[in-house]
Symmetry: C2
Subunit: 254 residues, 2 copies
DNA sequence: AACCCTGTTCGGCAATACCGAATCGAGGAC
DNA sequence: GTCCTCGATTCGGTATTGCCGAACAGGGTT
């Protein structure tokens, strides 16, 4: 691991975590000399990866990151192929659709279709959600390799609402249920009143590349248990998308 | 400029420019030893900034960039404050609205409101557009500091359509017109059939922080010259937004 | 006007990252 | 099945490079 690059990345993540930070704050945060941080910041600024506030002298993330983030999306195969499936799923279920991938202990939303009801909604592409508190995350986890599952389950599991599952035991049971049902369900585990139903998407190696699912008001998605039509729609979308990615017959692990 | 960080940034930009690249391709592209590039890539991968394709061994951009790009947007003051103005402008003009900032020689779209006509549209947030071929870019350039203007005008100016202005002379005249009118106009200079009307947004220092404007079919925006109602709407949105950013009375340079 | 808290610059040390060359592993051609 | 080639990966020595401590400069506040 080359030291200066690693440190530069940590600076970016520190700046991403909150608002503007100064050289002194960053050097304290990272435990480095001020001059070291300053040199890194100068280079990052030169590359457009950070910007310095002309008034306060503090630093914030730079525009090049937005371009690179966009380029990441453009090169994303799962995302590209999910467009028509997500659109169809949204129309059929009349709910918002999310496509996500697992990055570390969080789900990164790579595609999002609004609920087709003309209401004002904010785009969630780029948002990160704790894996254990959303249907998409649990759908991926339920079909992940043992090593990955172990890694994400061993981290701290934050309680977001009263129903969030935060013990390995409860989660393992829930993932087993998800494997049996073919879909994972989130019952107000991230936001009170909001539920989700999602199914894993597999690539040509049979690995879970991500998941697709619907999110919406709990009374619509889980009227008395998961709505069967929605479950079927989600499963079909996930299966179709998997096939497009080249998945063979073995669509599920174990 | 610290060497390894600079090189790491160049790798990211190279990967962002196209599709997957291998160690050898990158080392040839940057003129570095393979082992050097390899070390940088390993570090970048460790930080989630790049991903390695398990099959081909080639590298692509990583998910952390999407998160950072999103964080950039979250911390963006102009963008945050532009939400309600952009929404209002879209409703009033019945056209798509874009808010952009200047980054190097291109305009980066930081906010985008769809044309309110229920058609399927793709979100352009994160997209980069040559400054000289869009109304937003010209609105910013017309009010930029001489140094910035000189920098962007001296670069190569690509012809995108038959009407794209690509000489310094033609652009200077157009910018002068834009300053006089208070809005910049793009008449199919980026895409045939598409026009734009935009006005600069000023921050509390009186500097052009970006621009807001409408885009749409040329026959609606420029029926016989710029539609006066649209011009007025764009100017009002830009002025309101500037005021929110703390701009004083001096809303225009010179 | 003095203080304090920033961001910024400088110079020397040695740790650090660079490079060239060798190794490994996979895919294709015959 | 075997050879060949091309690309990713590893290794070790070198001196370049970036790190650090300490001093400087510039606002804002008291």
């Amino acid at each position: 691991m080359i030291q200066s690059v690693e440190r530069a990345a940590l600076i970016l993540k520190a700046l991403g975590g909150g608002s503007r930070l100064g050289v002194t704050e960053l050097s304290a945060h990272l435990g480095l000399a001020k001059a070291t941080v300053y040199g890194l910041l100068r280079t990052l600024e030169d590359q457009g990866l950070v910007e310095q506030d002309v008034e306060t002298g503090k630093y914030r993330l730079g525009p090049a990151l937005l371009q690179l983030g966009n380029a990441y999306l453009d090169n994303h195969e799962l995302r590209a192929r999910s467009f028509r499936w997500a659109e169809g799923l949204a129309v059929r279920t009349q709910e918002a659709v999310r496509v996500g991938v697992l990055t570390g202990p969080t789900v990164l939303v790579v595609h999002h279709v609004f609920r087709p009801d003309n209401s004002v909604q904010i785009l969630e592409v780029g948002a990160s959600i704790p894996w254990h508190a959303c249907a998409v995350g649990k759908a991926i986890a339920a079909n992940a390799s043992p090593a990955v599952l172990e890694a994400i389950e061993s981290g701290p599991l934050q309680r977001l609402t009263g129903t969030t599952l935060i013990t390995k035991r409860a989660l393992d049971a829930d993932l087993k249920k998800a494997r049996a049902a073919g879909v994972a369900v989130d019952d107000q585990e991230a936001i009170v009143g909001e539920a989700g139903i999602a199914a894993a998407v597999f690539d040509h190696r049979g690995e879970a590349a991500g998941a697709i699912g619907v999110t919406g008001a709990v009374e619509r998605l889980l009227p008395s248990g998961p709505d069967p039509d929605m479950v079927a729609a989600v499963k079909e979308a996930a299966r179709g998308l998997s096939r497009e990615l080249g998945a063979g017959r073995a669509l599920s692990r174990g």
